[in-house]
Amino acid sequence: MFDIFIFWITLSLNYVLLATGLTLTVSVMRVVNLAHGNFYMAGAYAFLVFSERAGLPYGLALLLSVLLVGALGMLVEAKLYRRLGGRIEPSIICMSGMLLVLEGLAVLLFGPDIRGLPAMLKGTTTIGGTVVSMERLSVAALALVVIAGLFCFLKYSRLGRSIRATAQDREAASLMGVNVNLISSLSMGIGTAMAVIAGIQITAVYHLSPYVGISALCTSILIITMGGMGSIVGAFIAAFIIGLSDSFGASFIGRYHHLLSFGTVMIILLFKPTGLLGTTVEAKGKG
C-alpha cells in the first residue's frame, strides 16, 4: 500500500514535469506540440547513449541529453514552426511530421526492441518500517527539485517573467521590449527539456521503446486538458489525479483505468469546457 503511495507520488511528479513542459509550449505557441511525447522518447535514448555507450556518470548524461534535445526543440520552433505563421493546421501537420521523423530515427538507430534504462540510485531503504526502492525515491526527489526550480524560474526571474508575459499577451510583451520570437524558442526548448527529464525517469521505472512517445503524449494531453490549457497549477493538480488512476487504478480498478481517466476528463470537459483552471488559449486567440 505504502509502496503504491510512493509510486503514485513518483509518477505524478514526473507527469507534472511532462505536462508542464507541454503547457509551456502550448501557451506560447498556441498549438499542441504533437511531437512532445517523442521528444520525451528521444531524450531517453539520448540518455541511453550518453550513459551506457559513452559511459558518462548519471548526472552528466542527464544534463547532456537535456541540453541536446532541448536545443533540438528550440531549433524545431525557430526553423520549422515559426515559418508557418501560427496557423493551426499546418503547425499540427508539421508537428506530426516531426513525431514520425523522431520515431523513425529511433527505430533505425536503436531498433524496435524494449530496453531498460539505468537508475540513478539502486538498492532500497526503509521509511517507517517499509522497504522503499531508492530508485523511486531518487526519481521523485529529482522531479521535485526540477519542478521547484522551474516554478521559481518562471515566478521570480526576469526571463521567466517575460515567458509568462509572452504567453498572456504576445503583442504587449513585444511592446515591453521582449524579443518574443526568442522567448518562443526558449519556451519550446524548456518545455522539451522538461519532457526529456520526465522521459529519462519514467522510462527507467517502466521501459523504453521507440513507441512510448504516444502514450506519454496522451497522458500529457489528458493532464493539460483536465487542468486547463496554459495553466501550470491546473496541470499540477491534474497530474496527480491522472497519476492516481495510473498507479492505484491498475491494482484497484483493474485494467480499465485508462477508460477511467478518459471518462473523468470527458466529464470535466462536459461541465467546464476549458478544464479545471483553464483561462483557455482558445478564448484569448479568438478575442
Binding site: R161, R164, Q168, D169, E171, A172, A173, S174, L175, M176
Partner: protein, 242 residues
C-alpha cells in the same frame, strides 16, 4: 539627452499602411518636437490606431519612413524600437491579466538594468499614480478600467521612455477618470518626456497638448497648435460630419 527643445524628435514621412487591398493610411506625415505633447485626433476608424501601431513596429508599413531622433526606425521589430526609447501604451491597456500590478510594472522595466533603477522608477510611478499603491499585489485582470489605464501608463513609464505613445488613453473611462489620466499626462510632460497620443476626446486632448493633427479616413486633414484647433470648426466637422 543634450538635445535642445524644438528639435524634431519623431518624424513620420508619408506613411502608408494597408491590409490586403484596403489602404488604411493614405500617406500621413507628422512631427513631434522634443518635450512637446502632440495629439492625433479623429473619429473612430480614422486610422489613428493604425498609425501608432505602424510607428511602433506592430504593423508593417507599405511605404514611407519613420525617423526617431534622426534614425530610421521603420521596419525594425517592436522590441528594437522599444530599445530606442519609444514606448507604446496600446489601446485597451493590454496589461498581463494574470500578473499582479507590481509584476506588470516590473515587466515595463524589462530592459532596465539594475535593481536600484527599477525601484526608483517604481517609486516615481507610484507618486504619479498613488492609487496603485494599495493595488500592487492585485491581479491586473481584476482592476477597474481606470486603474488598468493607470497601470498601463505606469508600466510604460517604468522604462523611462524618451517618447511615450499612447493610444486612446481615455477609452471607456468615465469623465472624472479621463481627467485623472490627463493630469498624469501633464505630469509626465513636466518630467521632460515627449508624448504622442491619439484621442477621441478632443476637448480634453487639446487642453493638455501643444499641437494637434486631425485625421479623417486615413489622411491628416488639419494640423495646428492646440489653441488654434480648439477654436476651429474643422474639428467638429471631422468628428461629427456636420
Amino acid at each position: 539627452m543634450d538635445v535642445k527643445e524644438g528639435h524634431v524628435f519623431l518624424e513620420i514621412r508619408n506613411m502608408k499602411v494597408g491590409y490586403g487591398a484596403v489602404e488604411v493610411l493614405k500617406g500621413i506625415s507628422l512631427q513631434v518636437e522634443k518635450g512637446k505633447v502632440v495629439c492625433l485626433l479623429g473619429a473612430n476608424g480614422a486610422g489613428k490606431s493604425t498609425a501608432l501601431r505602424a510607428l511602433s513596429g506592430l504593423v508593417p508599413l507599405t511605404s514611407g519612413e519613420v525617423l526617431f531622433d534622426g534614425q530610421r526606425i521603420d521596419g525594425l521589430q517592436p522590441h528594437h524600437i522599444v530599445r530606442k526609447g519609444v514606448i507604446h501604451v496600446p489601446e485597451e491597456r493590454r496589461l498581463f491579466p494574470e500578473m499582479g500590478v507590481q509584476e506588470n510594472l516590473e515587466m515595463g522595466a524589462y530592459l532596465v538594468k539594475g535593481h536600484g533603477k527599477v525601484k526608483e522608477s517604481l517609486e516615481e510611478v507610484l507618486t504619479i499614480f498613488p492609487r496603485l499603491k494599495q493595488k500592487l499585489k492585485q491581479q491586473a485582470g481584476t482592476l477597474s478600467g481606470g486603474e488598468q489605464q493607470m497601470a498601463a501608463i505606469g508600466r510604460a513609464l517604468m522604462s523611462r521612455p524618451r517618447l511615450l505613445v499612447m493610444d486612446e488613453p481615455t477609452l471607456g473611462l468615465s469623465p472624472l477618470l479621463c481627467e485623472t489620466v490627463m493630469e498624469s499626462i501633464v505630469q509626465i510632460k513636466q518630467r521632460g518626456t515627449s508624448l504622442l497620443l491619439s484621442e477621441q476626446n478632443s476637448e480634453l486632448a487639446l487642453d493638455v497638448s501643444d499641437e494637434g493633427y486631425i485625421m479623417r479616413l486615413g489622411e491628416i486633414v488639419l494640423h495646428g497648435t492646440s489653441q488654434q484647433l480648439a477654436t476651429d470648426d474643422g474639428v467638429r466637422k471631422a468628428y461629427l460630419g456636420m
